[in-house]
Amino acid sequence: MDALLTLILEFAIPTVIVAAIFATIMIFLLPREVRTIFKRELKAYFTSPIAYVLFVVFLGISSTLSFFFMGVLESEEASLLQPYFQYLPWYLVLIAPAVGMRLWSEEQRLGTMELVLTMPLAPWHAILGKYLAAAVVLFGMLVLSFPIVWTINYLGDPDNGVIMAGFVATYFVALCFLAVTSVVSAMTKSQLVALLVSVAICMMLWLSGLPHISNFLDSINEGWWLLIYPFLKLANSLGAMPHFNELAKGVLSLRDIMFFVTFIFFCLFATSVVIRLKRA
């Protein structure tokens, strides 16, 4: 029981703080238009089965994952959830686009885009409001995986600081994938197309940062490869994995956080460009 109490203190309090900061920003810093769009979008997630289905799928995947690594844990207590967080982004490559695929494609399918864009609001109000709603759904998923943390704590004595860092890093990666999905969903009225294309792009975004690829690139010094080297290197440096790894280790460097934040803003800006071009 004591362990549970400590855990709640260690996890619930930061969660509540994050939620409070979010609410403050929402209420005091963002315009009412963003709040209105956000509220509608968040409600839409829960009036259709989509959010519940995704919650169940995510919980299913993540608990299978943790169960699988539990065996590892028992023998080697120190590394604990490290492998869990190493694998989680592979699932987010699928889950984040599934959460975000409806953002703009549904709007186009229903034709409501014509309503929203003739209302007196700037497009970024709608883009941000919708993105934040999906971000909250993803946040809810991560919070719901708390029982796994509790189980791990029950079985062993992990470093909860590292686990927290793992969650933060995972959430940042999820937000990047979600931002990619926002751009893609603005391009098509089909949710399925949005899902498939986003998954492909997120997968590349994730893979291009793999150590194998960086090592491979560093070993290139001859041949025609050199011609496309700059592009490969660019893709490689855009890869999210190294930044994730740093954060997941509990090293909160400004550089890594800036990478995620810049990437997200870039994608949201790209969403507005796509929406404008679509109408021209």
Binding site: R32, E33, T36, I37, R40, K43, A44, T47, S48, L110, G111, T112, M113, E114, L115, V116, L117, T118, M119, P120, L121, A122, R276, R279, A280
Partner: protein
């Protein structure tokens, strides 16, 4: 309130709107007529700020639309052609959402929603999910959304589409009523609506305005405007048709129906002789000793004008 000058819209190489100009002042209701694909909806989409124009000028309340889109949009209420709605919301929830986006303060939300529900007769479906609404109610819900903030300008793309006859009547009356202190543009394929609700109408065909005027002016332009319809009997041997054709006031005579002793004919007036035609016909019949059963001056009909001037288009 609305001024559009030489508006163009190209979709790739396709020209959807080709130099449309018009003005709508407060207190005016402008009807948009035109065959399918004429460019009515595209014009409306540009005026509401949804589609960017290829060239041309749109002034909302004297300010260019591009210069201050948000302010311009806040003055406009818009019912898009397909009446799009979020199917996961209830009627009331959706209207509340629209009212909030329209910037109505929280304290006034409930009132605004109630008023729109009342105006559009939505009380019955207030708590129903939009997904399960019938087509007419969907249309009315979207109409309610467009008037929720009591805008100065209303742009309605086929507002009576899918409504039952009673509701069509109500909506026409509503447009006419609101037209007294708003500037309204609405498009329709039902020509009676133009007479019932518009102060002015334009006919658009292949992206250009081909007729512009009050409903009466437009009707007067129809070929048969001012024609005299004559039904008479007792013509044995009078050769009335030839006699009618000889009248200087008449341009031509179209026989609608004729028998041995009976004729029904439409006499089309010569240019500028509209007023003198019917006395002349009357006199002729009296001189010839015909028994007049009916003699009346026909008003031009909008659908005739419409068919005459947009004909070539429906053939390609």
């Amino acid at each position: 309130m609305i001024e559009v000058n030489d508006l163009h819209k190209h979709f790739g190489s396709k020209v959807a709107v080709d130099g449309v100009s018009f003005k709508v002042k407060k207190g005016e209701v402008l009807g948009f007529l035109g065959p399918n694909g004429a460019g009515k909806s595209t014009t409306m989409r540009m005026v509401t700020g949804y589609l960017p124009s290829t060239s041309g000028q749109i002034l909302i309340d004297g300010v260019e639309l591009e210069d201050n889109e948000v302010t311009a949009k806040s003055k406009i209420g818009y019912l898009p052609e397909s009446a799009p709605l979020y199917s996961d919301m209830t009627v009331e929830g959706f209207l509340r959402f629209a009212a909030e986006l329209r910037g109505i303060p929280n304290s006034g939300l409930t009132d605004a929603v109630n008023k729109a529900i009342e105006t559009c007769f939505l009380e019955k479906v207030r708590h129903q999910s939009i997904e399960t609404l019938s087509k007419g109610f969907r249309h009315r819900t979207c109409l309610a959304q467009s008037i929720i903030h009591d805008p100065e300008i209303l742009i309605l793309d086929e507002p009576t589409d899918g409504l039952d006859p009673n509701q069509k009547h109500e909506v026409r009356a509503l447009i006419k009523r609101m037209g007294r202190d708003k500037a309204i543009i609405f498009s329709t394929h039902i020509l009676e609506e133009v007479e019932a609700a518009c102060t002015r109408a334009i006919i658009i065909d292949r992206g250009s305005v081909i007729a512009d005027g009050t409903p009466d002016e437009l009707k007067a332009k129809a070929q048969n405007a001012g024609a005299v319809l004559l039904r008479a009997s007792g013509l044995a041997g009078t050769g009335i048709q030839q006699e009618l054709e000889k009248l200087t006031e008449a341009k031509k005579v179209i026989v609608v129906e004729s028998g041995d002793d009976y004729i029904e004919a439409r006499v089309v007036p010569a240019k500028g002789k509209g007023n003198e035609l019917s006395p002349a016909v009357f006199k002729l019949c009296k001189d010839k000793g015909l028994e007049i059963q009916e003699l009346r001056v026909e008003q031009g009909r909008l659908d005739e004008l419409f068919r005459e001037i947009t004909k070539s288009d429906s053939e390609d």
